[in-house]
Symmetry: C2
Amino acid sequence: MHDVAAHAGVSRGTVSRALNGTGYVSAEARARIEAAIAEVGYVRNNAARNLVMRKTWAIGFVVHEPHQLFLEDPNIGGILLGTNAVVAEADHQLVVLVVDSDDDAARVSSYLRGGFVDGAVLVSARSHDQVADAVEEIRLPAAFVGHPEGRPAIPYVGIDNRAAARTLTTRLRDTGRRRIGMLASALDRDSGADRLAGFRDALGPRFDEHLVVADPLYSYHAGVSTMTELLRRAPDVDGVFAASDAVAAGAIEALRSAGRTVPDDVGVVGFDDSAWALRCNPPLSTVHQPAAEMGRAAARLVLEQLEGRTPESVTLPTDVVWRDSA
Amino acid sequence: MHDVAAHAGVSRGTVSRALNGTGYVSAEARARIEAAIAEVGYVRNNAARNLVMRKTWAIGFVVHEPHQLFLEDPNIGGILLGTNAVVAEADHQLVVLVVDSDDDAARVSSYLRGGFVDGAVLVSARSHDQVADAVEEIRLPAAFVGHPEGRPAIPYVGIDNRAAARTLTTRLRDTGRRRIGMLASALDRDSGADRLAGFRDALGPRFDEHLVVADPLYSYHAGVSTMTELLRRAPDVDGVFAASDAVAAGAIEALRSAGRTVPDDVGVVGFDDSAWALRCNPPLSTVHQPAAEMGRAAARLVLEQLEGRTPESVTLPTDVVWRDSA
DNA sequence: TTGAAAGCGTTACCAG
DNA sequence: CTGGTAACGCTTTCAA
């Protein structure tokens, strides 16, 4: 920059102002500076710039469990693209950080603490999590995609689980299913409780507590066991709302074992539109997550904090995709 | 750091040496410094550190065409994980840069030029590419995953296309196929030419040039048109080596239109083990790319350049996965 | 084994 | 509108 200033016959201060478009610079000086920059082949040193500005112009995008997510979850890519679009628009750079082991968690945490980024989007973090701890402790502007419990300080982007569950269940009912059960999961979490609430909403007076079987986990195995139990309680069940696609996949397996066909004997719906949904036979009717929009919303949440505001969490509507399982 | 030094009763220089484990620091001083760090809650300012060290301890991972890759390609996740593992091991941080538009390409290029990273892994870059231009121009230590033409200055991690094609074709022959054709693609590129060479190797004297139909592109549509042409030339064809899974998918469609069944009438094999492979009906026999190992190798290539060496490009062996299409 | 001091390349304030 | 100057927080000689 010193050289540029010399070539242009101005001072470093003027070059800096010209570069940043801040303060006054005469058109003539600006022209000479631009010529000098080209001539000298100048590129600005960002370490120095970051040092004095106390900003890095970078936003972290932290992904946990990448084995699962990067390789299988079709939502993660959309979230990433959405976040990237908004962050780029704001002239920041998105830095994707992969947490693939405990070592990685430690490394990423210290990376965040190290001031390498001005903010962070946290995807699918668990509540008790080294990375989230670091974010909270250093008060790094951040947002979750998803809604971990017990992190009131960090806003999140969630989806309207209750409305989606309601839509799904209503359709199940409207397509002639008479005995509709639910395989609930994670009732101690918002997502699980809301999905049950939506199910209940849709059935109204016809809701029968007896037809809800719960399990703590959103897993394939949970689906197998809860479906088995549901069949025991109500052999004439003809519709099932599973709290996630994985649960639905397990349920379909259990139904097959019990000699029922899907969707003829029993209609099954899932939740998430994850990789399970298309892998199932028949493919699942399920709730599609607006991945890109979730990513964009999370990015906006972080950017707003960078501007000094304290935005509220966001809840996004979802689409239901009807495939063959119901 | 000033405060730490004061609390510990030493100078800043000593604190710095203690922190970096460089130079001499007495055990006593080190203990006092550590206590002071905890007391003050010190975390080092990396912008300042990077400024003086002229290093960022970050490696870029540049992904092009993410719509395609992030959402569909099962290899990209594995490559990312492999690269991350090696880079993390070397105490660097992987920074994933997504190129999703021309604007992104410009932004990522200037990010690389801006000295935010010490090196970069380039995934699936096209040869004529703004990002690769930038990398070459500023001589950033880098490595390609894949083998773009015309970038001799940048080493790459490729796979042994010829050997894989040989294996695939041999197996096709050994399972009783008598009239084996090839749907070749991109013969002007290494990958395309090598796959044809391997095909030729395997058939030896039985190779019949007449049964090779070529197209410039590795695409589904290329598969449809070349398969149609192959059927015209040799209606009795009973084995087909398609140069990619997408081509194979197109070929299967063309065969179906022509009333042939796969694999009974005609055995089909693809290449890449991409998302097409499992989506096809029947699922494709194809060549699986060692994604994680490719990522690791690319990371090593970059790290070695950081140490001042000039490593050679790497060619990795592949596995053939036999599914139902042949 | 330690301390002092000289940068590293910017930005930002303050006179002019 | 512009130039000078003081930080920004660290590493790294060089003496002691």
